[in-house]
Symmetry: C2
Subunit: 238 residues, 2 copies
């Protein structure tokens, strides 16, 4: 059955003419591919994609006029089911990460052997994701590092903040403040007098070392007060 499958229609975009020609030559010898267009210009490439709606685009990342990431983004925004295989001379983790984030279905290096490249395009044409093991490792290193940093930053914010000084009641009041509710509204929701709300709010200001509600709300947001609330809810559920 499989040998009767339609040829995968491919467009090549690579500002290096020699490499472009080389890949075109290579693919022309494979009967499973039909290179419908090839260009050294990213802008022109995007137009060709619009016109031909190919199955696969082999997209160089390092182009002068337009960055390959932008090109990927624009093609993805067309909403076609064209699969993009990113191509680069370098194994830059950040570039790989961002290309995949934008929806690239794979990432290959120019240094890869021809059979591997063919294989990669085939995989992608068949709707799979292709990533060589070396890049997978790079990707995950970067992926984990970025999450670790995010976590450390959050941790730091949690540790050195005054939110933990608040009493339960004050937390309730702050919660309502972060919803943009006035004294009167808070008083009604908590069934207490407006004066009491004011007292609480004043205490909150002192504890958070701010001088008005807007700053208090900003402080709460910047220091993960909202996240904390969600966590507490989750804890109670489980």
């Amino acid at each position: 059955m499989r040998q009767f499958k339609k040829q995968a229609r491919v467009i090549l975009i690579d500002d290096n003419y020699d490499h472009l020609a080389g890949v075109r030559e290579l693919l022309s010898m494979e009967r499973s591919f039909d290179v419908v267009a090839a260009t050294t210009s990213a802008n022109q490439g995007i137009n060709l994609v619009k016109k031909h709606k190919p199955d696969v685009v082999l997209m160089d990342m390092n182009m002068p006029e337009m960055n390959g990431l932008q090109a990927i983004q624009e093609i993805e925004e067309l909403g076609l089911d064209t699969k993009i295989l990113a191509l680069s001379a370098y194994d830059d983790a950040d570039l790989i990460f961002r290309a995949m984030k934008l929806g690239a279905k794979g990432y290959v290096l120019k240094t890869m052997a021809a059979p591997q490249l063919i294989g990669a395009i085939e995989e992608v044409a068949n709707g799979k994701v292709y990533m060589p093991p070396i890049l997978t490792a790079r990707f995950f290193d970067y992926f984990q590092k970025s999450f670790k940093e995010e976590k450390i930053a959050q941790q730091k914010a949690q540790d050195s903040n005054y939110l933990s000084d608040l009493t339960p009641r004050e937390e309730e009041v702050l919660d309502l403040l972060t919803q943009g509710i006035t004294y009167k509204g808070v008083a009604q929701q908590l069934f207490i007098s407006e004066t009491t709300v004011k007292t609480h709010v004043n205490n909150i200001f002192q504890k958070l070392q701010v001088s008005d509600r807007t700053q208090a709300v900003l402080y709460a947001i910047n220091n993960g007060f909202l996240n904390r609330k969600k966590l507490k809810k989750m804890m109670n559920k489980e």
Copy 2:
């Protein structure tokens, strides 16, 4: 040289005793591994990790008492350079994603053939990331889907918000408001009178359909006003 390398010290944590015993048996035949401990309890496993500080932990994901993700998190928080290889019977994309996010150095399936498993542990012991191609594909699908959804949500927020109705000057004022600055302060920073600031703020309220500064700030934050500012800065730079 390589054959003189120290054995990798491994701890196995798997609530299925049969599988645990099987893997232990398998690894005992490999001279490159030294299984220093094995347990069916996640809690006990964590204590064993603290005690032995192994090179690699093979961690089952589906355990009754404690979720494998929590166990990974706790071990990672110890700050050792113990590498965790996650192990599961199922190829659940969300689980894979979260395990890697928490710092797992690889993910293997219980259905994998013995030589593959050996290879995976070796890779991880050598500081590399190991992920079988099938799971790589699953991972990236999930990864891209989650970013796509995020983007769509942002897009939606961008489209149906009133922030784009603001004039440049009003944006400047709102920017300062989101920093918790008073009328007087804004007036000083923009070299205009306090009255003018009030006029701008009033216009902002009407355009954003809110009735006080706190709500305006919350609206701005929830609708990506701060992100937009960053984007504009980036545009100017490049």
